[in-house]
Symmetry: C2
Subunit: 310 residues, 2 copies
Amino acid sequence: MTEKVALREVGMRDGLQSLAPIITTEQKNAWCAAEFAAGVREIEVTSFVPAKLLPMFADAEDVVRHALSLPGLKVSALIPNLRGAERGVALGVKEVAHVLSVSEGHNQNNVRRSTQDSIDDLKRVIELRDSLEPGRRINVIAGLATVFGCTIEGDVDEKRVLKIAGKVLALKPDALMLADTVGYGNPAAIRRVFREVLDMAGSIPVAAHFHNTRGLGLANLLAALEVGVRGFDASLGGLGGCPWAPGATGNIVMEDTAFMLEAMGFDTGIDLDRLIEVRRMVEGFMPGITFHGDLPKAGIPKNYARRLAA
Amino acid sequence: MTEKVALREVGMRDGLQSLAPIITTEQKNAWCAAEFAAGVREIEVTSFVPAKLLPMFADAEDVVRHALSLPGLKVSALIPNLRGAERGVALGVKEVAHVLSVSEGHNQNNVRRSTQDSIDDLKRVIELRDSLEPGRRINVIAGLATVFGCTIEGDVDEKRVLKIAGKVLALKPDALMLADTVGYGNPAAIRRVFREVLDMAGSIPVAAHFHNTRGLGLANLLAALEVGVRGFDASLGGLGGCPWAPGATGNIVMEDTAFMLEAMGFDTGIDLDRLIEVRRMVEGFMPGITFHGDLPKAGIPKNYARRLAA
């Protein structure tokens, strides 16, 4: 009776999006296949943005096609708008993630439109989903960014978070995802906001996307876990943020996250030894890029297997 | 009505103990004074081990004398045995920390005697404390190491932890400190063990000493905080472990820890801006040594002050 926690790998998208095309399509596919083999069952493999904006994702179609060949992998892609969702549907992805910022300033900066315009855009994506025949049905993850603060606006009013979460939930996404995009969150705020939003969401799952910008990533995850969240984004080596800028840490580290959850007795489905091998391989693909995380350096504790068996 | 959490700086001892004497007495004193000025009120400034074993602490007397000149600072020192406690008393320290390992193998390795012999040694230290006239009274912190696992023995039986905690509590130390010496702990184990030990300890405070070896330091702190622990060790820049070995992370990082607690609304008494200045200064003293922590790199969030005022 082990409780499951789902970890969604976002390094292939969030980790790579700020980089020039430094790894090949074959390397991306090897990463995806190896992490799938290590037990990860949900991977955001690419972003359907125009290649001229993010050349790293010019191979989106090839990467998706390869990922769809892995049986049982939930292949996810970030979409900036309805056009991106249509590309996803045409390819047969199982899941698209649409993200809008609760902070008006951040949304304007990021996608050059108001938060309300982005909500309307999400509505069109969900209408597309509902128009598909059952066999081609996709899941739509509705992501809310800057939920715990914003580098442009500073504080983000929690009442505004709840109001936007309510509007988005009313559209009936398949999941809601709250993101601490810039690492401003702390366990107290996270507990408070997730508790409210989980209560509003009813049967719609609520997941979390945390960055480790100020070292609080796993403490924040623990806080969300405690109020009932069972789905988290993480990235191999904590890729994300801006890996070229020394000190800018990215997403929470998949390796450390999986270790913590497994050591606590949750079932992530992930084989830590194999996951660490995937990290070594992907590190080899990207010389010069900093990979974060402490488990891979310190090693799996001697008491790990026994604790699992107990 | 802000709740207080006490952070004890251990970097001057745990951080330096594995190093050759690379910083001068004057630099240590500058560190101590600056961190006191940043609001830290309890600092383990040295270790009373023979200088031939740890040459870094040959200046223990000078460092203690300087620290005692800072009004309101609780000057703490690690002692290996009764002889160390006597040196502390002679100098006028306010607090000595005596540490024994719950793991028999670790205790043998560390101090070449059985855990029971170390408990007997602690008893003599406490008898010394009780023999002092009221004006010279010292506090004795009884530290238990390897509470959550051991690199030599692997698992450490929680029943053994409770039994040894009980024996030690019966000696009436001024505080009990449970340490995850090798970073094997996880939030579930920490919650479970601290809950039991807090219940046993009654009015004797129970503090925690965590290492960030596998990245779980702050999540573990959060777990202990939630069951009622209000005193934690931390070190500037996460110094500790073995700073010469790449990848061996040390104690939890004082900067990130203070940030998390303050952001959550706890009062640590620490001014984060000044603390970050102390870090920059001490980093300057030790070129080549890796300083950990993400807050100093990412900066204090824009919404920080406002959250405190709220």
